[in-house]
Symmetry: C2
Subunit: 409 residues, 2 copies
Amino acid sequence: MEFRRLTEADVPAYLQSIPAMRERFSDFDDLEVTEVGDGNLNFVYLVSNRRQPSETVVLKQAVPYLRVVGESWPLTRHRMDIETAALRHFRALCPQHVPEVFHGDADLSACVMERLGTHRILRGALMDGHTFENVADHLSTFMAQSLFYGSDLYLGFDAKKEAVKQYTNIELCKITEDLIFTHPYDDSATNAYNTALAREAIDGIQRNPLVRAAVGELKYAFMTRAETLLHGDLHVGSVMVNAQETFVIDPEFAFYGPMGFDVGILLANFFLAWHGQEARGGASAIATQGWLLETAAQCWDQFADKFMTLWQQQEKDGQGFTGRDLDGLSAQAFRESFMRRLWNDSLGFAGCEMVRRVLGLAKVAEIAGIEDPQTRAKAEVAALRMAKRLLLQRHEVSSMAQVLDWVRA
Amino acid sequence: MEFRRLTEADVPAYLQSIPAMRERFSDFDDLEVTEVGDGNLNFVYLVSNRRQPSETVVLKQAVPYLRVVGESWPLTRHRMDIETAALRHFRALCPQHVPEVFHGDADLSACVMERLGTHRILRGALMDGHTFENVADHLSTFMAQSLFYGSDLYLGFDAKKEAVKQYTNIELCKITEDLIFTHPYDDSATNAYNTALAREAIDGIQRNPLVRAAVGELKYAFMTRAETLLHGDLHVGSVMVNAQETFVIDPEFAFYGPMGFDVGILLANFFLAWHGQEARGGASAIATQGWLLETAAQCWDQFADKFMTLWQQQEKDGQGFTGRDLDGLSAQAFRESFMRRLWNDSLGFAGCEMVRRVLGLAKVAEIAGIEDPQTRAKAEVAALRMAKRLLLQRHEVSSMAQVLDWVRA
């Protein structure tokens, strides 16, 4: 079928043409179709049967350009093939935290998936003062499973290299390379600065050779280290929650990259939310702030434990990544050195994410939504200070407690 | 054309069928064809016209198995596509140091290339007591050009990722993963130990958790860090020389890997040759030994200079890998941090190569050719001691002078 962009009016007939949808919907005569894509890339339709509201799906379609800009920024629709494949891959590993794909359509670059009816985006929920006791447990499980099972620590030498090829995601990686690792540092015209943010604070990042060298190392790692299939955009806007459940969505940036990237982006978003709350002040902010730091710490600690457990189980016959473990100590020595590097990487990528959310094009609502520019600048300065520490001291700091002290500083 | 293995008798008619060969040979009636493949993988024919000896080529053919073992070790012929593409790529970058490919034949997995008539393999020439004053200059040029121009420091974000896919070399990487990074360490049955080598020396590598963790890190780097198109097997048996010229041959192991791998393999082979000469003793050995260390040092120093120069030229408008250089110091700060990491990586990979040439399956003639097992063990023990230092102290040592002190220790 030739590509065409679906409209709300097209959706019922399109769904009816899909066998899997004819099993899911009792009829297609009275569907409610609402376009809700608030992202920058794609069109997203919520579809439900007014006669049977439990019959509901999400339809996502990629168009051959960047939606937020328009046809002047072409972007191949191949990204939807990658997103669909990544969703299925993550779902197979972690069914409790990834929505089910019902139908993938390469011709129309569309994907029909499970509707998370009672869940909302974590970022917005946190801003409204809600907290969720299972999020650290769930996200650490998602990261441990997804990062471990896509890597050379688990996959055969051949399957992993084929997967690297399959998930080559040139255009979306380029967006990250530019918007996270380059533009925020070189005073690019795409940046957006708070007018109340002192030039000194901006220069402290952009004209600091040590910061720039550290970011260069992390950009180079992002571009060269094909460690595992990453989500690629694992911030709190890519997570949906209710009181019981946590789902990770929107893996269109998935590619083979360094494990610390997913971990670092997530940690940074908790820290950024903390700085936003700190500047806003008030009693409800204080309660959320405690939860944010505790959750960040638990995300790392539980991730590291779960990742290590998966790895130890994988190598329990003494035959592992480094070969047979002759003295009973060597495999563990490598695992510990591996986890130290992953920790250092995660802190560095967290620093990059914090800088770009302050200086770069894409902001986080927790800070960008602060109306008073002076108050906003307070949060931004604190976030940049924290980011600089993460970038420059990522190899020295060994405990999350010390990182949390930096946040509170 | 369907695949068939060429025999010496087939070669004249095969060459005559190739238009480029009809330009190169005045006739095909009296060709001398000699099979000389002494490697483990392929068949190699030297072909010359007895009536016009200047009309001469090399024909190389891959068979769908590992030649040294036979049809019981299948290996796809795809490796010849990679070797041919890599030869053409390296030749385009460095015509003075890479033989010309006249014809590549994907159907027969064959490649016809320039015959280096007056050149011989560097390893054998060194063992015969010859030294070559241009080798460090030439090999450092080859490494600087090949490692720089295949990387993200030069190629566009898209061309590099496409190249990673093109050069995915699953089977030959697996050989390296096993024979360099795994088997020498886990007392594999494929290892071959000198009976006079004390078990203590072997255990000092295989049962040392710090060594095993370091090798694990380097194996993981080899498998995940897609930095540039490597030669992949750059030892002194892959180099042909005469008094004036130096050529790099046999890039069948080419793939996108960490830059330090090529550099480290080369350095290690000079060090191994030194240890072989040291154990053999004698006046001619002493002369060669001085040349070996000087050449190793010059290879690194000149490589680092040339690589840095290419990079600075590439970024001379202030727009580089890390973005616009606002303070005039940041780009250089990143380059220096990059070169430190590359140096550390190179030392680590050199350590891996030295261990595997002593404990593993494939030896170097400089040491393996020492007839007396006790004398051979002396060289092996010294090489293992050196390798251990390279593996464990690669992050601390900052000068080649110190590394050379270790060799002489």
